[in-house]
Structure formats: C-alpha cells, structure tokens
Point group: C2
C-alpha cells in the first residue's frame, strides 16, 4: 500500500520518466505522438522535451513528412548520452561488457577463472571494467553504472549467497564499490537473463511473464505488472526446488522430488545413466546433445527424454496455475536444446497438467537471445534507473 507523499517536483520527475521511458521503449517518436502516448498536453511535452534535449538525454533524429503539414521531428534517447556496463559472474568466467544507451556493445572483456574466491572475482570484474573503458575510449564519468549478474541470491542489492560459487554472505557491491567510482548494482543472474529477454527478446511487450531457465540447474525470473518480482528478501523465483514428485529423487539441495532433480541437465544425464544409458565422458553440454540425438535409436534415451518433457511440463504448468502469466519464455542451454525439438509436445503436455483457463491465456515461447545475454541484462539495471529517474543523473562527487 503506497503511503507516500507527492510533491510538485515528484510530478515533474514522474512525467519526465514517463516521457523518457516511452521514447526509450518505442523508439522514434514525434512530440505529437508522445503527447498521445503519455496523455500529457502538447505544451508539457514540448516543455519537458526541450529540457531533455538541453540536457543531452534526448536528441532529434530526422523528420518525417506528414501529409501536407509541417513535418514531425522524431526523437530518440541519445545513445551516447551515457554508457552502461554489465558483468556476468559465472563459475568459470567473468565477462564485462560496455554498451551505449541503445545497447550496442562497445567493448567486451572475458576472463576465465579457476577459483571463485570473492576477492579474485572482484579483481577480475574491476579489471574487466577498466579494460572495456580503455578499449572503448569512453570517459568513465559517462558510465551510468555497472550491473553485475551473479548466480546466487542477492539481498538488497548487496549481500550474495551463492552455493555454486561457494559464497556465503559476500558483500559484493561494497567490495566492488571500493575499487571504482562507477555505481554498482548487483542482481541474480537468472533475473538478469530474464530481464534481457523481457526488454529485447521473447518477452517484449508482456507485463506478466515467467522466464524459465534450464541449464545444469533450474531457475526462473518472475515478472509481474511489468517489473521483476523478487519477494520479501529477493529470493523469489526458486522454481528449481519446487517439489513436483513427492518423495522422489533426492536433489542436491537436500530435499526430495525437486523439479531440478528431474529436468536439470545434470539430473537428466544421471537418470539416463541409471537407466543403463551410456553417457559420454565429455562435458555436460555435449553429453546432453548426444542424449537428445540418441532418441531416434535408443529406447532408453527416448524414454528419459520423454519423461523429462513430462516433468518439465508439470513444472511449467505449476507456474501457469499459480501466477497466471501471459507468457512463459523457456531458456537456458538445456531448455533451448529441449525446446527446439519438443516445444509442441511440451505445450501439449502443459495443457494436461494446467487448468483450462490459465492455460488458454498463456503462450509458451523459446528465448531469443541465447545465454550470452546475461551481461546485457545486467546492463539494463542502470538504464532502468535512468528511466525511472526521468533522465536525471545523480552527481558523483
């Protein structure tokens, strides 16, 4: 329940934000159309836009003839007004990317790591940031912020608990902030990939959606009413450890019957092995592809994959029933491999588990951006803040 005052200045900020967000999301628009979209008066649009142009946030970008009248001047967010950086912290790699506001990649720095100790990760993120700044030639004062995506639970933009990295209450934001002037925002990796899909991928235009990610493990990003839902202490979206087979297979989280214990790539391969299938000694991804390729020839492989689609369908149906989204976007490397081959069957199977009504209202799609979009998603964090603040950049002094 919103119990906060509104002052006459909040009003302007809110209108600047509405204007800027509309320009950012819809691309080239004239002042006239903006008035329509935001239901602001033409006078206010003009007033606000000239302010935004004077500050350099927005720029004019050509004009379009209108049938027999003064041509409309198109507006867009100035791509080079500021820049944003995104980092992806994985188990084996730290990647940092620099974008302009149109989300064009200006520079990229990858670094393989063999230890995930927080201080080492921090060092590589900071080095990566310095590297992309150097190679792009962007002045660091022009960088709005660095969004960092970590595979773990992030509480209050700050403390990270990550089992896979072996992190427990790591104050990542603070540690990074000590090494740079660039403002840091930290968030969960699955959420960031979800964010990228929502803005630039298969989630575009949806306001209630779930991005379901299946890799070695299983996670999900929830989007409610157009913005990411995180729960009380931002650990919402733990889809992977939902019980779907009571008393079933033991999961690495300690519980039994978790979704992840059936459809996570690691678990699928284990089930295949237990059923007598031969899992090649290659890395997980190659092995998973071989399993899928073996479906035509091996009965065991066929059964395992079939079951996997079934379990996955139950897990997806649980999302459909509980959160009634308009769209479910399936991704993660294993999710994509499965989806490419079995999406129609999955859709059908979801229908068998979900209730008629919510099922009829949902569409199930595949991710469009691939897994390299994590840093892109992380970089949307500072952009989101800019849009929310109506293009006002906090001074950094």
């Amino acid at each position: 329940m919103d119990v906060r005052r509104t002052t006459v200045r909040d009003m302007r900020r809110s209108n600047r934000s509405a204007l800027l967000t509309t320009i950012y999301r819809e691309g080239l628009l004239s002042r006239h159309e903006l008035g329509h979209r935001t239901s602001l008066s033409a006078a206010s649009v003009s007033n606000l836009v000239s302010e935004l142009i004077a500050e350099g946030v927005v720029e004019e970008a050509g004009s379009v003839d209108s049938e027999g009248g003064r041509p409309r001047i198109l507006l867009r967010v100035s791509p080079a007004f500021r820049y944003v950086a995104g980092a992806e912290v994985g188990e084996t790699r730290v990647r940092v990317e620099l974008f302009d506001l149109a989300m064009n990649v200006l520079a990229r720095a990858d670094h393989q790591i063999d230890t995930t100790s927080p201080t080492v990760v921090v060092k590589h993120v900071l080095e990566g940031l310095a590297a992309v700044i150097a190679s792009s030639g962007v002045r660091s004062e022009l960088i709005l912020g660095l969004g960092v995506a970590v595979a773990g639970v992030v509480e209050g933009n700050e403390v990270v608990d990550a089992q896979t990295l072996g992190w427990d209450a790591v104050p990542l934001r603070r540690m990074l902030a000590e090494g740079t002037e660039v403002p840091i925002q930290v968030d969960n990796g699955a959420n960031m990939l979800g964010q990228a899909e929502m803005w630039f991928g298969a989630g575009r235009g949806a306001t209630d959606a779930v991005v379901a990610l299946i890799g070695s493990g299983v996670g999900a990003a929830l989007v409610a009413d157009g913005s990411s839902y995180r729960g009380t202490r931002s650990s919402a979206g733990e889809w992977g450890h939902m019980t779907i087979a009571y008393g079933g297979r033991r999961c690495r989280c300690g519980a039994a019957g978790c979704l992840e214990a059936y459809v996570g790539a690691e678990a699928v391969l284990e089930r295949y092995r237990e059923a007598g299938g031969v899992v090649p000694a290659a890395d997980e991804e190659t092995a998973f592809v071989e399993l899928l390729d073996a479906v035509g020839t091996s009965e065991v492989a066929a059964r395992i994959v079939d079951d996997t689609v079934g379990y996955l369908a139950a897990g997806v149906a649980n999302l459909v029933n509980l959160v009634n989204p308009e769209r479910i976007v399936l991704g993660g490397w294993a999710g994509l491999l499965l989806g490419e081959r079995y999406l129609p069957r999955l859709r059908e199977a979801v229908g068998e588990h979900a209730l008629r009504q919510p099922y009829a209202q949902v569409t199930i799609e595949l991710c469009e951006l691939g897994r390299d979009a994590v840093a892109l998603g992380a970089a949307t964090l500072p952009v989101l803040r800019l849009l929310r603040d109506g293009g006002v950049v906090p001074s950094r002094s």
Copy 2:
C-alpha cells in the same frame, strides 16, 4: 512499467489517498503524526485534513494530553460517513452483510439455496442487499458498494467461471447491476477471505504474503507488495492444482498428482477409505474431525494424517520457494483443523522441502478470522476503492 502522466490534481488525490489510508489503517492519529507517517508538511496535512473533515470523511475523536503542550487532536475515518456491503455466494448459501467504515456489522441476511442457477443467486443477493438496508435503516445512497465473493474465477470484475457452481461465463456484475443502484464489485472467494485476513487477521502488517486455504478443495490468495496479485487475467493463485506428485492420484480437475488430490478434505477422506479406514457417513466436516480424533487409536488414521501434513508441507514449501513471502497464513476449515494440531510439525516439514534462505524469512501462521470472514473481505473492495480515490465518492446520477 508506468507510463502515465501526472497532473497537479493527481497529486492532491494521491496525497489525500495517502493521508486517508494512513488514518484508516493506523486508527487514531493526530495531524502531527500524520505528517510524520506520510512525510507531508504540516501545512499540507492541515489543509487536506480540514478538507476531509469538511466533506465528512474524517472526524475528530477526542484529544490526548501531550507532555506540557497543546493537546493533540486525534483523527479517524468517520465510521458513518458511508457504508459498505459484502456478499458471499457459496454452494449452499448466499450471505449479505452490511458494515460501516469501521467494519462493524450492522445487519446480516442469510439465505439457504438449493440451486445455484445464476438468476436465482442474483435474486437472493439483491434480496439480501434490500434486507440489510431495510433492517439497518441505512439510506441506500450512502452505500459505497457491494463486494461479491464467488467461488470461481472472476475475470475483469465481471465474468465468472465457477466449476463448483456449474457456472460458465456468467456476467454476474452486470446481472446484479441491473437490479440495484449500488455499485457492484465481484471477486474470487479465496481472494476475499485472504483480503480479510490481510487487513484484520493474521496477515496484518505483511506486504508479501500468501493465504493458503484448505477446505474440501484447495486454493490460495497471493499478496505481493501490499496488494492482491491476480495475474494477467485474474486467475492467479490456483495453488490446489499444482502438481506435487508427478503421475500420482487423479484429481477432479482431470490432471494427476495435484496438491488438492492429497490434502483437500475430500481427497484425504478418500485416501483414508482406500487405506481401510472407516469414514463415518456424516458430512465431510464431521468425518474429517473424526479422522483427526482417530489418530491416537488408529494406525491407519495416523499414517493418513501424517502423510497429509507431509504433502501439505511440500505444497507450502513450493510457495515459499517460488514467491518468497514474509508470511504464510493457513486457513480454510480443514486447514485450521490440521493447523491447530500439527502446526509445529508442519513448520518443520516445510523446512525440509524449502530452501534454507526463503524458509528462514517466512513465518507460518493460522488464520484468525474463521471462514465467516468471506463477506467481510468482499466488503473491503469498496473500502479499498474509497481509500484509493482519497475519499472522493463518485456521484451516482
């Protein structure tokens, strides 16, 4: 993403709303404290409050000595400013209640029904409304609205699909509106009971919560960021048909392994019967109590109840993992019966299924209001609208 303009008048409405909501929820407050709570300036509070008092929405209610200064005048929402009605449409009963704004019951009308045909239900709701108006002596122009709770999926405050009532796309709001001048709002029964618990029961003060209801069937009301979450087409919260035992018991929804097929009272009794237990031929509720009472003496009963708590724990844990609420409120008649006896064990079992982090952040409580609170919850709909509109009552002409 909020892309709407703000005008100088929205500002006033928004501040009136903040003020009114604070007074309503926190009870007796002075102007001074209100300024603090809403972070509005003393001048604005004074200004807005005198307006609200002049309109009759708010009234002064005595004063309190402050140590050595002018005594503070306490304010409250005027209980008799307007009135609200709530209706509960069940399978066997239609109940209508009339409340003042302090939610004191002024009148009640119950009517047993033996058919659930929409026209009959509409007739009884309208008759009930007329009856409570007549017996309370409240002028009908002073009734802000009638909230109607139905056991079914309500889309856009209008069309109801309800399996248990045999309704398919019934335009309930419109049908009711044709018979009365009182504005009608329709919503799902589980949501309304949840709403009542959130405002006046075990959910008070929580902003992210789930009210889990177990009766003959199973449902849940989701509350995110302080307001009820409904999904794209308002059928969110279908917790009962979440798959928790893949390939398990057939559910009446047609799918297999639904939570409801294990912990719904009907299903529990069925499982008891199948296990060789003797279910008395009494009504479901009596039978359920007898089953619980038999736990001490019958091994079969003990096993069934034990399993039920286990399945329920898995279902609750799924909520904990997925939505990361700060509170889970367990209710429904069967939920309460189970909870009264096994709440500690349930809490423990949830811990075995849920992830450590979200589990540590949630508290699991029992409903405080009992099942008669459905009409009360429904009556909060018009109150909510009043608070949202800052005490401005739409003219009805």
